[in-house]
Amino acid sequence: MAEQSSDPPRGPLPDGIVPEDVVARTEKRWIVIMAAMLVAMLAVVVLTGITDAMHPSSNVEVIDPTTLHLRGEFVESNLGAAVEPDGSVTVRIIAAQYEFVPRCIQVPAGTAITFRLASADVVHGFLLPDTNVNTMVVPGFVAEVRTRFVRQGEYAMPCHEFCGLGHHAMWAHVSVVPKERFANRTSVERMSCAAQ
């Protein structure tokens, strides 16, 4: 029986204004569509992970933060960018309250780069803006990020995890330079922030 909408009766809403089976069907349909969308997103993540090497760093390597400067991979003479036999470059950096050592790093463009960091004290982290280089540096562990810089550029490299009252001052600088320029520098020059 149609009601005049200009003269509305008032009272409680009756049950079943949408039939039960319609409610169930519409909700199920929505869940299926939403699940399909989520599966599609997961598929994108998996496929690009495999084909384009998109994985967060996950090496799980233990190291003693109190002896970094005394022996092992992170002694001072071994810090900075080093060329590996296969032509790739490994950059070793120590993170400590409140600086990265070395503070200025040069790396070549168009080369496989591996960043390896260790913390001497608390949790630090770093990122290179406009790249996907981003990792936490947890004391007791070595953090590793592998990437390849396509273009040359200058990067201000902040510590991005709160590490104490001087956290805001903890910035390093990374220069991505053409391969030839990098090859002509000594390891000491590669750690200089002076214009070259």
């Binding site: 008032r10 319609v22 519409t26 569509i33 998109m54 760093s57 790249t131 996907n132 280089v133 390849r148």
Partner: protein
Amino acid sequence: MRIDESIQSTAHSPAHVGAPGRVDAPISSDEAARALRAGPIGAYIVAGISVALVFIAWLVFYFFVFMPRGSIG
């Protein structure tokens, strides 16, 4: 919560829809029922378009912001 005068569980009682002071319910419940016979099309439109926009934005960010920033790992 004046529950000293009403011990009845309020979550069940149909009398609570359209209680005094509340926005009153059916102005045209039959018409509404007719429009909703096949389900809440309006909800599908609003929720569907919103979620679709979010999904598309995610894809755009994934392929045009994230991936161009370089491989990792």
